[in-house]
C-alpha cells in the first residue's frame, strides 16, 4: 500500500502532495517538513531510501528520486517492493516528460490538475493500478479531451488561460 506521493522542490516547497490516508493539513505540513529535513541533508549518489519510521510510524518506507530541482517521494509499507517503487517513480516522471515534453518544475507548478490526473491513473486509493506510462498517457489524454469537450459546451469561454503548454 502506498501511503503518500510527494513532490517537493529543493527549497522544501511542496509541488504535489497526495496522502492516501486522511490527514489534517497541519499533520501534512509537519510530515512534509520532516521528510524534507532529512532529504536535504542527504548527499548526491547515496542510496534512495530513507528510514522514516520516526516520521510516518512503524512499517513505513520511503524512496525518493532527485531530478534537477525536484524530489519525487513515495512513502509506502512492507507490501511494496522498494526497487519496484523506484521504478514507479520512473514511470511517473516518464509520463510527465511525455506529457509536457521535457518536464521542468514550472510545468508541475502550473499543471496542478493534470498532475493529479496522472497520479490517479497510476495509483488508486494507495494501490498501484497501472505501471505502463503509455496506458497512463492514453487515459490522461482521453480525460483532457472530455474535459475540453465539456468546457466548450458552455457559452462564453470566460477565462482565457494564458498558460497552456499544449
Amino acid at each position: 500500500m502506498i501511503k503518500a506521493v510527494l513532490v517537493i522542490n529543493t527549497q522544501g516547497k511542496p509541488r504535489l502532495t497526495k496522502f492516501y490516508d486522511f490527514l489534517t493539513v497541519e499533520k501534512q505540513q509537519e510530515l512534509i517538513r520532516g521528510v524534507f529535513g532529512v532529504l536535504c541533508t542527504r548527499a548526491e549518489k547515496v542510496s534512495n531510501f530513507m528510514e522514516v519510521d520516526s516520521i510516518f510510524g512503524p512499517d513505513s518506507r520511503l524512496v525518493y528520486k532527485h531530478y534537477a530541482t525536484l524530489y519525487f517521494v513515495f512513502v509506502f509499507d512492507s507490501s511494496e517492493n522498494e526497487l519496484a517503487m523506484l521504478d514507479l517513480i520512473q514511470v511517473f516522471v516518464e509520463t510527465l516528460d511525455k506529457c509536457f515534453r521535457n518536464v521542468c518544475e514550472l510545468d508541475i507548478v502550473f499543471n496542478y490538475s493534470k498532475l493529479h490526473a496522472i497520479i490517479d491513473e497510476i495509483i488508486s486509493g494507495g494501490q498501484v493500478l497501472e505501471t505502463s506510462s503509455t496506458e497512463v498517457m492514453r487515459a490522461v489524454e482521453e480525460i483532457s479531451k472530455s474535459e475540453a469537450a465539456s468546457n466548450s459546451i458552455s457559452l462564453v469561454p470566460k477565462t482565457v488561460s494564458g498558460w497552456r503548454s499544449r
Binding site: A43, V46, Q127, I143, I153
Partner: protein, 895 residues
C-alpha cells in the same frame, strides 16, 4: 444566498492567475495574498453559476494541498460541483472531496446518491472519478450502499473500468466486510483472466489482503502458483512472491512446491527488483531450504558487490534478515560489512553496523568493540551515538551474556563516556549500576572507573554526562571499600564544580561522600582497635590506613563543602547537608583534642562515637541485589485495597505536588526496572538510617518487612557457595556450559576466578528478562493481528461458504444481483457457516494423515492429481457454474 455580482463572475481569477500571483509575492506578503484569495473564494464559491463555483473550488483545493489552507468548510460546495453535468466540474469536485473528506465530515452521506449515479454513468471517466473517490474516502455506509454497483462494474466490458473497480475492492472489504460475499468470486475470476492489467490489479489486492490474514487465502494457492510460473510481468511476480512469503510458513508442503520456481526466477530474471523480492521471500519464509538459501546468499553477494548504493543497501538489509538464524551469511560477507561501516551513505552505515553487532560473540566482542569505538571517534555525532547505542544494547543483551571480561567492559563504558559526542549517558548510567549490583568481582574496577570519571572536572560541564556521573558517584560510594584512595574520592565528590550538577544528582554526590566518610572513620577505628590488640597490622590496611589527622581533614573538608548547602533551596540537598553536618558535629568531639585526652578517655570516646559510626557503617554495607521486575506481582494485594478505581481526579490535584519527587531519585528509568527499584529503596534506606541511633534497627525492620521485594534465594547462594550452584534448569544449561568452556580457555587467573561468580548472577537475570523483555516483543504483533484479522477471517469464512452455496444464484442472474445480496444474507450466512465447518474438518483430517507419514509415492500421486485438478479448473473457468467445483480441488493441492 447572495448572488455574486456580474463583475465577480466575469473577472474571476483562474487557478493559473492565483499560482502566478503567489509566485510574485515575497515570502512575507504571501500569507496576506493567500488570505485575500481565500476571501475571494468564499464569495465566488457561493455563486449559483457552477463554472464560477467549480473554479473557486479548484483554487481552494490547490491552496489546500500546496499551502495547507483548511478547506473543510467548503465540503458542501464540493458536493454541488460533483452533481454538475459537466465533466470538468465533476473532476474538480471529486478531487476536492477525495482530498478533504473523512469519516467525520458531516455531509459525507450526501454524496452517496451522486456516486451511485456516476458509477452507472456511460462515460467511463466519470465512473473512474467516482471509483477513485470511493477508494479514498469510502466509509462504512458508503461502501455498504455502493457494493452492488462496484460488483457490476467488476464485470464491465471495459478493461479501464474493471481495473478501477478492482482498485476499490480493498476499501470495500476493509470498511464493509460483507462485501466479500458479493465480490470475492468475481475477484478470483479476474485472477484467472488473461488481461495483464487486470491480473496485476487483482494480485495487488490479494497481496494486501494476504498480508493481513494469510490463512484465508491458502485455498487460492494454485492460482497464485500458476501466475508465478506463467507470468512474465515482473510487477505481478513481485506481488505474487509477497503473497507466497506469507502463505509458505503456514503450509510446509506448499513451501516445498514453491522453492523451485522461486529459485528459477532468481536465476533467470534480469530485473533487480524481482531478484530482490525472491531473495527476501527465501530468507524470510524458506529458511529451511538449504539450496535456496545458498542461492539467495550468492545473489546477495552480487548485490553487495554492485556500485549502486541502493543495491548494496538492500543486500545488507537482506543479510541482516538472515543474520539471526544463518550467521554464516554474515560471516561470508564480513569484508563488505566492515568496509561499509565507512561508506558515505548513512543507510549503508547503519545497516552494516547492525550486522557487525550481529556477528559479535564472546570471542570477538573485545576486538569488535575496539574497532567500533575507533569508528565512533571518527564519525559524525549522529552515527557515533548509533554506534555507542548498539554496543551498549548488544552487550547488555540477555544480561551481559556475551561479556566474559567485565573489567574490560566497565573500562570500555568509562572510555565511551569520554567520547566527545556521547549522548548515551543515561544508558551507561543504568549499566554501571546494574553491573555493580550483579557482578561482585568487577566492583574494584568499577570503583576505579567511577573515580576516573568523578575526578575529571571537565565532565561536569557536559549535561549529557550528568546521569552517568550520578552512577559513578553512587558506585564509588556504595563500593568505597574497594577504593585505593578514599580521600581522593571524597575530594572529587565535593569539588566546587559539582555546583553545575542538577540538584537530584547532587544529592547522590552528597550521599556518596557521606558513605565515604563513614567508611574512612570506620576503618580508622578498626585500625586503632587492631593496634591496641595486636602489634602487627595487616598488610592490606597499610596502604589505606588513616591517620588521625587525615580524618580531621576529611571532616573539615566536608564541613566546608556542605556548610553553604545547608541553606540550599532544594529540600533534598538541604536535608542531606544537615544530616551530614549533624553527624560531623557528633564525631568531631572525639577528634577535637586527641593529644590531651589521649590514653585516658580512649575507651569512653569509642563508646560514644564509634558505636554510631559502626551502626551507620553496618547499614551501608548491607549487600543489595537486583530486584525482579515481577517482584511487585508477588506482593499480595490487601483485600480492602481497590486498585482499579479511577484516580484521574486525584491526579489533577496531586500532579503538581508529586512532580519533584521522582526527579530526586535520579536513578529511576523505565528500562531497568530492577536497578531502578533497587536504587530507590537503597536511597530510602539510607535516609532512614542516617544520624539517628535507632536507624539500623529501623532499617532491618524495613528490610524484613519488605524482604519479599528482593530475591533472597539468589543472594543466599552467592553468599553461601563458593562454586557455581545448581542453577535453575531453565537458565543454567546454556549459559553455564558456555561460560565454563571459556573458563578453560581463558589463561588469565583473574578471569577464571571471576567465572563462577559471573555464572551466579545470571540466573537472577534470566528470571528478570523473562518478566520484562519477552512480553514486549510478543504482544505487539498480536494486538495488530487481532485488529485486522477479525474482519478478514470472518469474511473469508463467508467466502468459503459462498463458493459452495451462494455462487449459483449469483452467477445465474448477474445483472439483477444489485439488490440481491441484502435479501439473501441471513439465510445464506447460516448455511455458509455450516459449510465452512465441514470443509475444515475434512481438511484437518487430511492434515493428520499427511503429517503422520507420507511417503514419496503418495506425494507423486498427489502431484498428478493436482495437475489434473488445475487443468480442469482452468477449463471450467469459463463456465461460471463449474467454479463451484474448484473449492474441493484446492485442499487436494495442499494436502
Amino acid at each position: 444566498m447572495a448572488s455574486p455580482s456580474l463583475m465577480d463572475t466575469l473577472f474571476q481569477r483562474s487557478l493559473d492567475d492565483i499560482i502566478k500571483g503567489v509566485r510574485q509575492q515575497q515570502s512575507s506578503t504571501e500569507s496576506i495574498f493567500i488570505s485575500k484569495v481565500i476571501e475571494e473564494i468564499r464569495r465566488e464559491i457561493k455563486s449559483t453559476d457552477l463554472r464560477t463555483k467549480s473554479t473557486a473550488l479548484q483554487k481552494l483545493t490547490y491552496l489546500n494541498s500546496i499551502h495547507f489552507i483548511d478547506m473543510s468548510w467548503a465540503s458542501f460546495h464540493a458536493i454541488e460541483c460533483i452533481s454538475s453535468p459537466t465533466f470538468s466540474h465533476k473532476k474538480i469536485g471529486y478531487l476536492a472531496i477525495s482530498q478533504s473528506f473523512n469519516e467525520s465530515t458531516p455531509v459525507i452521506l450526501l454524496i452517496s446518491n451522486q456516486l451511485r449515479k456516476d458509477l452507472k454513468s456511460s462515460n467511463e471517466f466519470e465512473v473512474s472519478l467516482a471509483l477513485d473517490c470511493l477508494s479514498r474516502i469510502g466509509t462504512v455506509d458508503l461502501c455498504r450502499d455502493l457494493t452492488s454497483e462496484v460488483f457490476t462494474l467488476m464485470s464491465s466490458s471495459k478493461v479501464f473500468v474493471r481495473k478501477k473497480g478492482i482498485g476499490v475492492v480493498l476499501r470495500l472489504f476493509e470498511k464493509y466486510p460483507d462485501a466479500v460475499r458479493v465480490c470475492f468470486k468475481k475477484l478470483v475470476e479476474s485472477l484467472e483472466g488473461s488481461d495483464s492489467q487486470i491480473v496485476s490489479a487483482v494480485v495487488g489486492v490479494f497481496c494486501e489482503l494476504a498480508s493481513k490474514d494469510p490463512r484465508s487465502y491458502l485455498p487460492l494457492a494454485p492460482e497464485f502458483y500458476r501466475i508465478l510460473v506463467d507470468s512474465k510481468n515482473n510487477w505481478v511476480l513481485i506481488q505474487v512472491l509477497k503473497i507466497f512469503a506469507k502463505l509458505a510458513p503456514l503450509e510446509p508442503r506448499l513451501a516445498k512446491r514453491m522453492v523451485e520456481p522461486i529459485c528459477d526466477h532468481m536465476r533467470k530474471t534480469g530485473a533487480k527488483s524481482l531478484v530482490f523480492e525472491c531473495i527476501r521471500t527465501v530468507v524470510t519464509s524458506f529458511t529451511e531450504y538449504e539450496s535456496a538459501m545458498k542461492l539467495a546468499a550468492a545473489k546477495i553477494r552480487e548485490f553487495l558487490m554492485e556500485d549502486d548504493p541502493n543495491l548494496k543497501y538492500l543486500g545488507l538489509h537482506a543479510v541482516s534478515i538472515m543474520a539471526p538464524k544463518h550467521l554464516w551469511a554474515v560471516l561470508e560477507n564480513k569484508d563488505v560489512v566492515i568496509q561499509s561501516l565507512s561508506d558515505e551513505d548513512p543507510n549503508i552505515k547503519l545497516e552494516s553496523l547492525r550486522l557487525v553487532m550481529a556477528m559479535a560473540s564472546e570471542s570477538n566482542l573485545v576486538e569488535t568493540c575496539r574497532v567500533l569505538v575507533n569508528y565512533a571517534l571518527k564519525s559524525d555525532p549522529e552515527f557515533c551515538n548509533e554506534i555507542l547505542g548498539s554496543i551498549l544494547s548488544t552487550c547488555c543483551r540477555n544480561v551481559y551474556d556475551v561479556i566474559i571480561d567485565f573489567d574490560w567492559y566497565v573500562s570500555l563504558l568509562g572510555e565511551m563516556s569520554r567520547i566527545p559526542n556521547c549522548s548515551k549517558g543515561e544508558e551507561i548510567e543504568n549499566q554501571l549500576i546494574d553491573i555493580g549490583m550483579r557482578v561482585k568481582d568487577v566492583r574494584p574496577e568499577l570503583v576505579r572507573v567511577g573515580r576516573d570519571l568523578l575526578i575529571d572536572p571537565a565532565l561536569l560541564g557536559n549535561p549529557f554526562l550528568h546521569r552517568l556521573l550520578s552512577a559513578a558517584a553512587w558506585v564509588c560510594g556504595e563500593y568505597v571499600e574497594f577504593s585505593r584512595n578514599p580521600v581522593e574520592l571524597m575530594e572529587a565528590l565535593l569539588q566546587p564544580r559539582t555546583s553545575l550538577l542538577p540538584s537530584s544528582i547532587r544529592t547522590v554526590y552528597m550521599q556518596s561522600a557521606f558513605k565515604v566518610l563513614i567508611f574512612c572513620i570506620h576503618s580508622y577505628f578498626l585500625q586503632k582497635e587492631e593496634m591496641t590488640s595486636e602489634t602487627s597490622t595487616p598488610a592490606f590496611m597499610e596502604e589505606k590506613s588513616f591517620m588521625h589527622e587525615s580524618i580531621v581533614n576529611l571532616l573539615n573538608l566536608m564541613e566546608l563543602a556542605l556548610g553553604p548547602l545547608s541553606g540550599s533551596l532544594d529540600v533534598e540537598i538541604q536535608e542531606r547537608a544537615w544530616n551530614v553536618l549533624g553527624f560531623i558535629e557528633l564525631v568531631r568531639q572525639e577528634f577535637s583534642n586527641p593529644l590531651i585526652r589521649k590514653e585516658a578517655n580512649l575507651e569512653r570516646e569509642k563508646v560514644i562515637a564509634s558505636r554510631v559510626v559502626e551502626w551507620v557503617h553496618d547499614a551501608f554495607s548491607e549487600e543489595l541485589g537486583p530486584v525482579s521486575v515481577t517482584a511487585q506481582d508477588r506482593v499480595l494485594v490487601p483485600d480492602e485495597l481497590v486498585l482499579k478505581e479511577n484516580l484521574t481526579d486525584l491526579e489533577a490535584i496531586c500532579g503538581g505536588v508529586e512532580l519533584p519527587s521522582p526527579g530526586s531519585f535520579s536513578l529511576t528509568s523505565p528500562y531497568y526496572g530492577e536497578s531502578a527499584g533497587f536504587s530507590v529503596s537503597n536511597l530510602q534506606g539510607e535516609e532512614d538510617s542516617e544520624p539517628s541511633t535507632e536507624s539500623t534497627s529501623l532499617l532491618t525492620e524495613h528490610r524484613k518487612r519488605h524482604g519479599l521485594y528482593y530475591l533472597p534465594s539468589e543472594k543466599n547462594k552467592i553468599l553461601a557457595n563458593d562454586y557455581p550452584p545448581a542453577n535453575d534448569p531453565s537458565s543454567g544449561i546454556n549459559t553455564n556450559d558456555d561460560t565454563e568452556d571459556l573458563v578453560k580457555l581463558a589463561d588469565q587467573s583473574l578471569v577464571s576466578k571471576r567465572k563462577p561468580n559471573h555464572a551466579k548472577p545470571r540466573p537472577v537475570v534470566v528470571k528478570l528478562e523473562g518478566g520484562d523483555a519477552a512480553p514486549v516483543v510478543s504482544k505487539k504483533p498480536e494486538l495488530k493481528d487481532d485488529l485486522l484479522s477479525g474482519a478478514i477471517r470472518d469474511s473469508s469464512s463467508k467466502r468459503k461458504g459462498k463458493a459452495k452455496h451462494v455462487i449459483l444464484p449469483d452467477s445465474k442472474e448477474n445483472l439483477a444481483v444489485g439488490e440481491q445480496p441484502n435479501h439473501e444474507n441471513p439465510s445464506s450466512r447460516r448455511s455458509q457457516h455450516r459449510g465452512h465447518g465441514k470443509e475444515k474438518s475434512k481438511k484437518s483430517r487430511g492434515k493428520k494423515n499427511g503429517d503422520g507419514r507420507e511417503d514419496d509415492g503418495e506425494k507423486e500421486r498427489e502431484k498428478i492429481r493436482d495437475h489434473h485438478g488445475r487443468h480442469k479448473s482452468r477449463q471450467r473457468a469459463d463456465a461460471p457454474i463449474n467454479v463451484v467445483a474448484q473449492t474441493p480441488d484446492i485442499p487436494d493441492y495442499l494436502l
